[in-house]
Symmetry: C2
Subunit: 750 residues, 2 copies
């Protein structure tokens, strides 16, 4: 095919490689080919690190490799270029169909094409039925089929994303059973969706991936070199400085974004790479570029296994092995070149000019709709495969004449050739490949997560801007609405209203962060799936980063309202008010963060937050004071997040025993006697004093702040304890958030 | 191609047509071929209707057509089978680029492939540059190109979706300039998205389209027959009874859904059909079925013009004319058969086995990235087209030897052959084609819209269920929280709180309807784009349908809270409370409906509703009574939607002058004297009575409800007026909603 097109194939906007770069890259991956090693991965990595003489010297990727190789080869004993072969035999996987589905089919609802397996078996559905095959180093194996044929399931099975108990059959690498832990180290899985931070550049995105995934033992300059090499390998040189972008921000093209997604997952240069429909949603040229990059990755010594919906003619020329699935069964397994022969022998020759995969998929689809289904094709393929195997057995092992090395040796050899830049930072040499639980210590993870978060928010100032605006608008409305409240009975009631509204507002404005949290959650799930960092580091970093913005919001709100409304306590009163608002913001944002870990839909999350906060307000003690709340609801009063900051600011306002709120005749203000002339009121007061045996004049204080607190039932917890409890709620929800992340991000099918 | 595949090509699940059906359909469209008419469309339609002898008799589509033809032909004078030809010459269209884009390119941001035209021209971007071509009856013309090449723009230009002022060049039908009004009657435009009600069946969906678009003069059985014929034509016979479906409900397949979308727009059997990427998002077989249906539509006497991203080999065999665009320029214009010759002469022969369109699009893409761009190809195509034209001129008009009829006659003839089932219900015979503003009278539209809405909500009971649940939960919480409020000063304060919370709740729960409204809005926009009904009918029907559910919600809420809380007024008090809640629901839902017409994003809409309602509550008079609100905010108090229902229920509660809320010694309840012994309180009371010159005992009423209303500043509007004002707000927002629909749904580019 490529011979038919002498023009250089261009990337999204640029030639993929200059001839010079291509040479360097080939050197990077090939030079060490004939050498191998029996050293452990950890040992190798340490040696590689020690060989790095000058950390500060800017160096090209190829020079790194030369150094790596020269050191590694000095300790090499066994030959190692035996190619990796991933084999899978008789893979079988079925799931129970939930009752709901069978019920809807009882109602006569039409079954769409993606029902798979034998419908006779009540309750179970066979997703994979006796699938065998193999994928080899240097090659791309593609799984094809209609949606629902089992493509993704097969990829998941191979990538160890289906629990071993449910999956029948065997998966081996070089004839040895693949352990889950080992596979996790030497492989990568690229999901269909591009989950990237929109405001990071391509280079930054890959660099963060390197910082998360590559071991601490690797120096920063070495990581940088790896990222630069990867950028060239992915053909992203011209886009390296461009941000990823989203609807609101112009960024890289769809094909470039997909290649960045792949780059993130192959930062450690895995031996096996799985991809679920890497070309979906891309135009033909971008899709071709992606598969071209995959070919280059395969040729650098990897096994590439991918599913693809409908490869174009040009992409077909890059694929080495094809498996066509239909309802979980193999209907073809072989090289693209064998397709015409296969279909001719099957009795459906491919017409001269037609696209082969298109023809094959259409034929399979048509057979699926016949009463017999694709059974005839499945059977034919079995016999055809057997025939092919007996033919190829004679040519086998032509490429490899020496004794077959163990998997351990093969992996070590591969590492010495520059593969698997990741690996254990622990020096445990008793394990061949020490499985790295995490590449970095906790504090480093937090630092990197925080750094990334800061870059993100600095480049999207509008997110904080909107929140700040909302808080300021509410602050100004409250400040003008409750301007200069007096110390009268009415003023007291209005003060209570102000505090209830102000404390609720802080919670409500936190809800605006839900979309951001939800967007991040998917990235978090992808990153923790391959142990990029500890969940605890993420939770801590998330909490720490949120603090500065909360301080600014609290300060702005407190300063806007405290003096205009005329709250009590002077500067120390203001400081406490500020602390209380900050604590409310902290508790509210922790609560919303926790909710965003539980609820996955923005609208649902927002509705729940608003509803819960409305109930919190109802039970806070503002609408009904604590001593009047029915006993069966009092538990909710203590659960109400609004109660604690509300009570703390009320106490801050009213706890001055010297301050008077109802003085002399003001005590008649909210009674029918308020219309009585002033002189008569004074007379009344004097009479009352006489009855009570005390001197009541127009300036006698009748109600102090403490009396008001008593009336409102705010007597159980003092103001500082209220503050601490509010802060503790915040921590409590952060801990809950941690647990939702821990148990909510399983990514294996059962 | 089809000869290479002898097997019958199957639809999504069924053979498209039985041989018998095929014959009937061909009769439907072809039988009357050689006849024509010079009568007006309106006249013809009337005759056709009169000829309908037996409305009740179930009849096949073909029998209808025979009747139609026999009658129509009696008044026919001129011959008419002259084929329609849609020609467009030198179409040119450019837009101004907003400054922001050029700014970002200044910053060195990479330009992605969809920048079109000459970048030298500062500020303008040429989307179409001198495009010419023609599309003929019976054929499919396809526009191809990368995204951003101008495909959709060209379709929009031809479909009169770009204002005449901005578009350069000429579009003619049979050589006569096409008027917008005429084009709207004889054409249809199918959008890329399937905007369908998920819970209607295929048959119902098409039937509603028939009821909206086909003239009232056509009997219901005739409309049914049209729908049945269409179901067969679209190959949807087996899916006719299946609901469309969505994420939550199992429905028809993607290909079937797309065909339903097409069916909705061609219910009136248009002469010209425009489609924007009708195959996008479909798998190859479904895409093929869709284009196969389009071919059948073309062959029934229509011109089909569509854009397509990357047609498969099989689809290519169905296309009659291709236009390849690159950055708004034509790079190829001709039949698919000419592609190899064209590219061979251009110097880039298509390799033997390669997909032709794939090759062409890849080559165009590669040229686009060279410095010269596709200029050479554009130039080559110009000369090549000229050559082809001179060649074909000799063969021209071979198919038509008689005198060319006028466009008017041609359309009349087409109508007599069964085309354009739509048309004017007005009998104005002075116009050749009376443009029907609307097919049905207003009451009929409202009836049909209401019917559809009722079917929808009956099939999605969960939507109402969630709202009902939310209202009931809040009702029960309020009922238990504020259980048996007493008539004491504290009880009064709690009553105020209850009413404020209750009235806010009704508004908040209305916000839950936003997603439903937003979903419907897109369908509304599509339907009003082709004048399916008046916007006013939609607004009225929407309001009327919402009423029953609001009555149920109000009744449930009022009944749950009125007696447990112990509100005043007995049965008539309850009835007024119910009215007030209903009025609040009505105003709230009108407000939310209006907002959903302004805001297009669910999350944004919800945030705005919550924020505005919070401010409404703040200014309602509950937090600060009217007489204490600062004068610069009093306007907002009167704007507050919560004020009116809140004041009305407060008056309903407190307007009984015989009812007492503070009696005797209770007047000391909220004062420091509350701790004084009862006997001393009585003594105080007696003393005070003496001072005031009245008899004050332990049972004397000190504060009546009227006093409380006075204290709360609720003196300006009586309770019934508050109720009417609330209802009036509801109507006001419905009117605003109407205007947003009127001005918000322009669908022409400028």
């Amino acid at each position: 095919m490529s011979s038919a097109k002498p023009k250089p194939v261009a990337g999204d906007n640029l030639p993929l490689f200059t001839p010079n770069q291509r040479l360097e890259l080939e050197g990077f991956s090939r030079k060490a080919r004939p050498n191998g090693s029996s050293s452990t991965l950890a040992e190798l990595l340490r040696m590689v690190e020690e060989a790095q003489v000058d950390d500060e010297m800017p160096s090209t990727p190829s020079s790194h490799v030369v150094q790596m190789t020269s050191v590694a080869s000095s300790s090499i004993s066994a030959p190692a270029a035996y190619p990796f072969v991933l084999s899978f035999k008789n893979l079988t996987y079925s799931v129970n169909i939930p009752r709901k589905l069978s019920f809807s089919s009882l109602l006569g609802h039409k079954k769409s094409g993606n029902g798979a397996g034998s419908p006779g078996l009540a309750g179970t559905k066979v997703l994979l039925n006796d699938i065998s095959g193999e994928a080899r180093e240097g090659e791309i194996m593609a799984v094809l089929g209609a949606s629902g044929s089992g493509k993704s399931t097969l990829i998941d099975a191979l990538a160890d994303r289906i629990s071993k108990e449910s999956l029948g059959g065997a998966i081996t690498l070089n004839g040895e059973i693949l352990e889950s832990r080992l596979l996790k180290v030497i492989s990568a899985y690229v999901m269909q969706d591009d989950l990237l931070f929109p405001m990071l550049t391509v280079e930054e995105t890959l660099m963060f991936s390197a910082e998360f995934r590559l071991p601490r033992s690797l120096s920063r300059s070495r990581k940088k070199a790896r990222v630069q090499a990867l950028i060239d390998q992915l053909g992203l040189r011209n886009a390296a400085g461009t941000v990823i972008g989203d609807e609101g921000h112009r960024g890289v093209s769809g094909g470039e974004r997909r290649r960045v997604s792949i780059g993130i997952d192959i930062i450690h240069d895995p031996i096996i790479l799985f991809l679920d429909e890497p070309t979906s949603g891309l135009d033909s040229t971008s899709a071709f570029m992606v598969v071209k990059v995959l070919q280059r990755i395969a040729q650098s010594g990897s096994i590439v296994v991918m599913s693809i919906h409908q490869p174009s003619y040009r992409i077909m020329s890059l694929l080495d092995r094809l498996i066509f699935l239909s309802h979980g069964n193999t209907v073809f397994n072989g090289s693209p070149a064998n397709l015409p022969k296969f279909f001719a022998e099957f009795g459906h020759p491919i017409p001269e000019n037609e696209n082969r995969t298109e023809f094959a998929l259409d034929l399979i689809r048509e057979l699926e709709e016949t009463p017999g289904g694709t059974k005839s094709m499945v059977e034919f393929n079995k016999s055809w495969e057997a025939k092919q195997q007996s033919l190829s057995l004679q040519n086998r092992n032509v490429t490899w004449t020496g004794p077959k090395p163990s998997l351990k040796d093969a992996i070590s050899a591969s590492v010495s050739r520059g593969k698997l830049v990741s690996g254990g930072s622990s020096g445990d040499s008793s394990q061949v490949v020490s499985v790295p639980t995490f590449a970095n210590p906790s504090w480093m993870e937090m630092l990197v997560i925080s750094k990334r978060s800061l870059i993100n928010s600095r480049r999207m100032p509008e997110l904080f801007g909107i929140r700040f605006g909302a808080v300021m608008v509410t602050g100004i409305i409250l400040a003008t609405m409750f301007r200069h409240l007096d110390n009268s009975p009415k003023g007291v009631q209005e003060r209570l209203g102000f505090f209830a509204f102000a404390m609720s507002t802080t919670f409500y404005t936190c809800a605006e962060a839900i979309p951001v949290f939800l967007q991040e959650r998917y990235i978090f799930m992808r990153e923790t799936a391959y142990n990029a960092y500890r969940r605890s580091s993420y939770v801590l970093a998330h909490a720490i980063i949120s603090l500065p913005s909360l301080v600014i919001l609290s300060l702005a709100f407190a300063a806007t309202t405290f003096w205009p409304v005329g709250l009590a306590g002077g500067f120390s009163g203001f400081m406490f008010f500020f602390y209380a608002v900050l604590a409310a913001f902290w508790a509210g944002s922790s609560f919303v963060t926790f909710l965003s870990g539980v609820v996955s839909h923005v609208m649902l999350g927002f509705t729940i937050v608003v509803a819960i906060l409305a109930y919190f307000l109802l039970f806070s003690g503002f609408f009904i004071s604590r001593d009047r709340i029915p006993p069966y609801w009092i538990w909710f009063h203590y659960l109400s997040l609004v109660k604690y900051p509300y009570e703390s600011v009320l106490q801050n306002e009213f706890d001055d025993p010297a301050k008077c709120f109802v003085r002399g005749v003001q005590m008649f203000d909210n009674t029918p006697l308020s219309v009585v002339p002033e002189a008569l009121k004074l007379k009344l007061l004097k009479n009352m004093g006489g009855t009570l045996g005390m001197n009541l004049t127009g300036s006698t204080c009748v109600t102090t702040g403490v009396d008001i607190l008593q009336t409102q039932g705010i007597t159980d917890i003092n103001k500082w304890n209220c503050l601490w409890i509010t802060i503790a709620w915040g921590f409590f929800f952060r801990v809950l958030f941690y647990f939702t992340l821990l148990y909510g991000s399983k990514n294996k099918r059962s």
